[in-house]
Assembly symmetry: none
Homo-oligomer: 213 residues x 4
Amino acid sequence: MARRKKESQSVHRKNIAMAAEQLFMKKGIENTSLNDISKEAGYSKATLYVYFKDKEELVSVLVLESMQKLHDYMNHALESSSNTKECYEKICNAIVEYQEEYPFYFGMVLKTINIDFETTHFLPEEKETFLVGERINELLYTFLKTGIENREIRSNIEILPTIFSFWGMLSGVILLAANKEEYITQHLKKSKKEFLLYGFDMLYNSLAVEGRG
Amino acid sequence: MARRKKESQSVHRKNIAMAAEQLFMKKGIENTSLNDISKEAGYSKATLYVYFKDKEELVSVLVLESMQKLHDYMNHALESSSNTKECYEKICNAIVEYQEEYPFYFGMVLKTINIDFETTHFLPEEKETFLVGERINELLYTFLKTGIENREIRSNIEILPTIFSFWGMLSGVILLAANKEEYITQHLKKSKKEFLLYGFDMLYNSLAVEGRG
Amino acid sequence: MARRKKESQSVHRKNIAMAAEQLFMKKGIENTSLNDISKEAGYSKATLYVYFKDKEELVSVLVLESMQKLHDYMNHALESSSNTKECYEKICNAIVEYQEEYPFYFGMVLKTINIDFETTHFLPEEKETFLVGERINELLYTFLKTGIENREIRSNIEILPTIFSFWGMLSGVILLAANKEEYITQHLKKSKKEFLLYGFDMLYNSLAVEGRG
Amino acid sequence: MARRKKESQSVHRKNIAMAAEQLFMKKGIENTSLNDISKEAGYSKATLYVYFKDKEELVSVLVLESMQKLHDYMNHALESSSNTKECYEKICNAIVEYQEEYPFYFGMVLKTINIDFETTHFLPEEKETFLVGERINELLYTFLKTGIENREIRSNIEILPTIFSFWGMLSGVILLAANKEEYITQHLKKSKKEFLLYGFDMLYNSLAVEGRG
DNA sequence: GATGAATGAGGGTTCATTCAT
DNA sequence: CATGAATGAACCCTCATTCAT
């Protein structure tokens, strides 16, 4: 309902947000001025303030949206696969895809989301972003649980800590692969994709039942 | 005497660098102005330019120094341990320590270091930072090699890709643990330390020879 | 209505431009800061950037305007005279008038206008300034041509080189007369006006048909 | 005697002045900092202030020196020629040479030298520069006087006003030729040299006795 | 609701100059 | 005498933000 309102609140928000997104991607958030955004969006600078309280709010809305996309990617990965290993790979790829499409947000998601809801000043969008994060965790929870039930993932893991380690490690390699692609291709004689596959596999080892090649 | 001169210069550089470091940590690099730094350091703004060509140079010097410290930490970890597992843990802890002491640089180190030495304009400090990074890689190389020789680490790994995955994953969990410490303690019922131990162990599994608890 | 808007914009541009002009005249262009201009004009410094992209643009607009005035002066001189000699004198006086009213620009016009349209970065105003310069040349061309047809100016001159020499020499004496007026009145026992008349006459000799004076 | 002192005062003044001159020529006066000069000269920045009160003084010394060179050029031109026309041409060329070698000072000489010795604050060097200017005038006086005596220059000219017009016009064409060389070569199909020859000739007409080709 | 107009605050950087040593 | 060290003042410019209309 609040949602309904927000959506009808206007196309303009969307327009502005989209323009901002494009610019953020092209030039980074710090180097994108409201001036740039207003021009790209085709509105007056002052109009931005009609639809967004702040530059900060504008950013956080975008982060939220991207987070939702990440959730959707991962959800789709889970739904569309049967086999645990296959599912694992799809999840990994979903995150890679997300990082490649929103490299900028990926960094933010890793850092910004640790909001202290008591003390810090935070926006509603930030809270919602947090909640989407929770839902992503649930996705991973389901994945692990199912894998254990199917006896494809070790049963002696602690699920929650595993989820978190898993997420941290995955995002770690992916970020590294993205930031040092050139270095990797030159020194490792692997494409970024191959390198990631290797890394994902390595990580899977620590989860999977039994030995494996 | 020339030496004397250099040293006295160094004092001021150090002062400025330290002031900058503190502020960068508190407010981030973009939000720290040379004005702030000069006040914190007790020099005039113009004086900063006597000791550093640029804000950029100031930053890169700081990054370099921190990187060297990381190298020292890890080097010490390697030298002071016999057992592979013990060595592994010390390395992990070295990185954690580094992240805790220089949280700000940790993020930079993950991103900045992929310099394209052909095309991009870069400072000498950046090049040296890169080289220290290389030496860190060599440290990890030695660690893995020794572990394999001692039959404690699987012999069928590809060393270079492993180093990179390893580094990416490690830094990933560490970053996550640092950023979401509160969340972790609340939801996982583990201290940050315990959580990291769990994660490090999980990762060790994928490297270590054979079955294990 | 669009027009209305443009006009209201123009008011501010004018205000700023006029303030700048005054200051440029008083203190020279390099020694006039945007700070000074904004104060003189009664606007905030930031506002200047609403109406002018640059200090450079502000200057070039001013130069252009002055150049147009020079053109108008000279055009008027040509139109309002019949006799060649009379016309010549009016042209000379037009330039003198211009120099007296815009002493500052006069110097710039002599130097700035040789733009290399291929290589150099230049503003639209600079290009237009150049074009106005061309039109001034055409004015002189017409003057000489007519004078030749009327057999009052020698027919064996090369028109284009004459125009340029003519312009160079004229501006040369005028500048000198302006800069050293005091010296001239004291040592030559001529007023600036009389001196210039003498000089103009001297130059006319080299153009005019036959013996005279 | 004062002179003796100044000369012995030191080689350092010369060194500094020469370094400054080179830089002024390369980058213009406004864009040359004392820092640049001190580096080029191989002295400390503070040392410049031992030898020169000011940047201003440094500049005026240089202007004076250049003015002396101009005087020497012209003097040599006069001494080495018999024929009036030849002498005229040599004088013109001397000025051209000067402009080409010291393009930067040429502009200054045209403008700066009108010092009001009563009111304005001025440096001793500026006064001396003025005096050298006077001596240049005397040179021209001699030239005209001799020309008249030889019946090669019209006897009905007023010498002093002619000198001044002459100087103004000459410097005018020369400046224009220097500033718009490219334009001239393209539109006039004359080299800068040819153009100047044409202009000098045109001016000579107004001085020379009788008819001429 | 949309915006043209305006701005305060601050950004990094440069420079001529001073002064203790 | 020569200078290393330090700086105040100014530079041009950008930005997020406000407000009357």
